[in-house]
Symmetry: C2
Subunit: 339 residues, 2 copies
């Protein structure tokens, strides 16, 4: 089978690509081609795999060419992140809304030309949820909570969820929209996402660097490790339509934690000196975005697919450390960790 | 003040225009110009008013020019209807999604150029609600019911609700999305809307013609008279942001009736011979769309604005008869009514 991952050079996209190549099959069918589309080139170890084809460039310009490939399935992960979309309204509309629409329309044309509809997993986000005076946000959001996005990023994700549902209803794709929790611990440098600090307060101290937490210690948030996130994307792809249950978007499993619990776990795994590298300094812009996000999430539909959240945040940190140890830049990333 | 009605030659748009011209003011400010944009020219009696300016042509091509007018407010009613959108996917996307987006972006550019944000009332629809295996439809939908549209029309309306909310949050417009109930009794001929028969089973018998009801007599549905619908649009325009309560879309008031109750009211108002002109003949296409719509609606936010649904369906029919009697084609429209 032939698969496409948009955002295939990104953090989750690259990890999904590695997982798929390692499995060698999806839904019992061998993976012959894995197309990775992204603005940036994919990681060298992925390109080195004979099954991988890189499509580097702006996705909006590539949708027609990509849809002309003999694709069985698509994981559409490419997206501008929340902070970028708040800062640059046009960028968010173009990258998140127009690009998804162009990809859906290109896949529709394929089907109207006689092709089978591609299976299509769309990565939405818990950022679709937010408080509104008319619709107070529940303490814990679930699959059936009414979304009221409070950011352009959340709005664009929600809009695309509904487009994916309608293109699916019409038979143009076999789409499944899933809402990712905040994926942590992300490697590398801080990005433009307002949620970037949820990785930074763990990653930087482990690298021996100081880190600033821009929100209060009691800030609660649903998170997920990269491994559990990728596991969720694959399980949703492999589910039958009946198992996915309907066409509305599904929450992926969450580990509901506070910043304080995250730092306690850091101390438990890496010691008090590492935790002490985090200091609190309020950032009104970041806090203003984060306080409009859910404090916790439930995922009954994902549970019914056999998916569960990470057991605790210490295990999420240990996953990050293990990834660094097997990765190329592990020594650098863990130089703050005494062993 | 200067106002724009898109869809200003349509049934609700023309009635709204007449109501605004008759009031002469909106929110206490005199109406100096009323711009009516539509594919079709406005009705002659509207064009005859010195305050009216007609903009006839495809709305998508006119958005920039319209937004360049010194507008205080917009009623965005223009839309392809449900049956059309199911039959022609591209038409629905273009007329309902792309056109609304173009209008919003043109209004955004005005504000980015220093203008005050225009007040913007968007007519959404109860068609945003529908049953989904993951989210069963409640017996009565309310403002906080989770939408799960089962038609392209409903999807496009819902998507635009969220765009209106986000453009409002960013300060590009002062937007209020309201969900119209099925407006009945519409004059004229059947249109492409799947809900067209909700008017046809009253209008045709009153005109002395046979009418076919394509759904069972027990079919329940939330409806509204044109007068109550226009009253709702005006009240929502005049409400403060605090009164509108948040940015999520608001249901306009409904009269919840069954087809049987509608026909009982027809008999009560016009006699058994008129009712006998309606025969039942199942239409799987229409029934398939209608059965995925809500059976009844509640509107607590509209009630808080002092809006209420029509008291009963007989009064809705009497409103139609009174409109015909004062209109140009009244005699023709009521030739089935013995008086």
């Amino acid at each position: 089978m032939n698969l496409l991952i948009t955002g295939g050079a990104g953090f989750v996209g690259a990890r999904l690509a590695r997982a798929l190549l390692a499995r060698g099959q999806l839904g019992g069918r061998p993976i012959e081609r894995l197309h990775l589309a992204d603005q940036a080139p994919p990681r060298p170890e992925l390109v080195a795999d004979a099954r991988v084809v890189a499509h580097t460039g702006r996705l909006l310009d590539q949708c027609e060419a990509l849809a002309a490939l003999p694709l069985d399935g698509v994981f559409h992960l490419a997206s501008a992140v929340s902070g970028e979309c708040e800062a640059d309204f046009d960028l968010g509309l173009r990258s998140n809304l127009d690009t998804t629409r162009a990809l859906l329309d290109a896949l529709r044309q394929r089907v109207q030309g006689g092709a089978r509809p591609a299976r299509f997993v769309f990565s939405s986000s818990i950022a679709v949820f937010g408080p509104d005076p008319a619709v107070p946000l529940p303490q814990v959001v679930s699959d059936d909570t009414l979304p009221a996005p409070q950011t352009s990023y959340g709005t664009q994700k929600l809009v695309c969820e509904h487009l994916v549902a309608d293109y699916t209803r019409k038979g143009y794709i076999d789409g499944r929209a899933v809402r990712l929790m905040t994926v942590t611990v992300r490697p590398g440098r801080p990005n433009g996402a307002a949620s970037s600090f949820f990785s930074g307060i763990i990653r930087e101290p482990l690298a021996g660097e100081a880190s600033v937490c821009p929100v209060p210690v009691e800030t609660a948030h649903p998170v997920s490790s990269p491994a559990r996130t990728v596991e969720g994307l694959i399980a949703v792809y492999e589910a039958s339509r009946e198992q996915f249950l309907g066409r509305t978007a599904m929450n992926l499993p969450a580990l509901n934690v506070t910043v304080g619990q995250m730092l306690d776990a850091l101390e438990q795994v890496a010691g008090p000196a590492v935790r002490a590298r985090v200091r609190f300094e309020a950032d009104a812009r970041i806090a203003g975005i984060v306080e409009r996000w859910p404090r916790a999430a439930r995922s009954p539909r994902a549970s019914a697919l056999g998916l569960e959240g990470d057991p605790d945040f210490a295990s999420v940190i240990r996953q990050y450390i293990a990834d660094c140890e097997t990765g190329a830049d592990g020594e650098q990333a863990l130089r703050g960790l005494k062993r």
